[in-house]
Assembly symmetry: C2
Homo-oligomer: 252 residues x 2
């Protein structure tokens, strides 16, 4: 499985992905899932991948080929991030259909985020069916892969006016919760921060299994969550409860 999250706020975008790939529990490998494409000062794109590894690898290979061979449509030619998502969806679908006659499903999902000079930075989620959605002010993030464990913290913390360091920290805490509860998501964790209108992509930070930062983040969040829980009003306080239900009690 996989967990990838992208966050878009006024100040920029944050991308975060794990690197575990598995086909069954005993065939586990490490593959990065973050790809960067761009021309400094003109356009920058980040793609995160989830789903069938053959499909995602073939899709990324085609995206690269289209750039190299100056195809009519490529990440070089699209005029908006939404168009880029359309293009990515088409490439993904074409790759899936190549093998569809076997009757199996080779679905893959993508997040593509980026900025083209003189337009707004955006993030898009490309579904296996090729269509896409974007984020909103109320939901300034998108997830692919094993998304449920890490969703509550995103829902609580993220707002469009947050600074990028806080967003990156939130993405990593979300990733930590996911790794804690799901074996199929694991390090190295890659995190990339893009600042609005810079039109330059830095290298992603890469946190390996024994990264001191990742370990400290894990320990620190675990401790703070436990402290937070300990400070909760005691359950005994529930004596101000509504009323108990009696209907489904079967005494015999």
């Amino acid at each position: 499985m996989t967990y990838c999250v992208a966050i878009a706020v006024d100040a920029g975008m944050v991308f975060c992905s794990d690197s575990r790939t598995n086909a069954g529990i005993d065939q586990v490998s490490t593959y990065g899932k973050m790809y960067r494409f761009g021309v400094d000062g003109q356009r920058q794109f980040v793609i995160l991948t989830a789903g069938n590894l053959a499909t995602t690898q073939a899709t990324i290979a085609q995206v690269k080929r289209d750039i190299k061979e100056r195809a009519n449509t490529s990440l070089l030619t699209v005029e908006t991030v939404s168009e880029a998502a359309d293009y990515l969806g088409d490439v993904s679908l074409a790759q899936q259909e190549k093998h569809a006659k076997t009757g199996n499903s080779f679905e893959a999902s993508f997040i593509i985020g980026g900025q083209i000079a003189n337009s707004k930075h955006r993030i898009m989620l490309v579904y296996p069916q090729g269509n896409h959605i974007t984020s909103s002010k109320d939901t300034p993030y998108l997830q692919i892969g094993e998304s449920k464990y890490g969703k509550p913290i995103l829902d609580r913390i993220l707002t469009p006016d947050l600074n990028l360091d806080t967003c990156a920290l939130c993405a990593l805490v979300s990733m930590d919760s996911t790794m804690r509860s799901n074996l199929s998501v694991g390090p190295p964790i890659e995190t990339l921060v893009y600042r609005t209108d810079t039109l330059v992509l830095n290298d992603p930070l890469r946190f390996s299994e024994d990264s001191e930062f990742l370990r400290e983040l894990k320990r620190s969040w675990d401790q703070r969550l436990k402290d937070a829980f300990r400070q909760m009003p005691p359950f005994a306080w529930a004596s101000s409860w509504d009323k108990s239900s009696d209907e489904r009690n079967e005494a015999y």
Copy 2:
């Protein structure tokens, strides 16, 4: 959808369930999912249900009928909680098979927990296929339904030596995280606490949509989580990161 969780620790058991049922987003109803069966001083069982509502209702009806008609096997006759889970699995499978010829799936899952005099209290998860698992010292809880959002807090907090009030609070926080992130799980929330060797079941606490306790718990946990997050070491600390990865950077 549904979310139910049961916790078994040395001091006893906690059961917690929501009451939302939906078939599509515009067909939402309220059904309790917690059922109690017992003879005071002799044996007590609690059943939580998830999945196809027709199957769970038919299964519970059969369980009641078997008790009433003094069937050869019923919750009155089983000698262990594990046997009770076997019996429940058989009843559930029989109900599913009645309608299987339509080609549709009517799967349901159950948690059954209880204690029979002179034996240990146990909780069991009964799969749609009729087989079951129990909890362990390392994982002293079981979940059915929409389980992922509320799993991280259970993983972090629960240990076999916790007191029952703390377990109940943890179950409610887990329920709160689930309701926050998933529309198909909702109040009233029923919570039942069983104390080891009492062999008596109290009425469950029932927290309705406008329960002051539930609202306070939600507000309080939200605030504490945000505070905990704010106290985290800043992301800038990550400047002690390992190293950045460069391989997948495509500049063109």
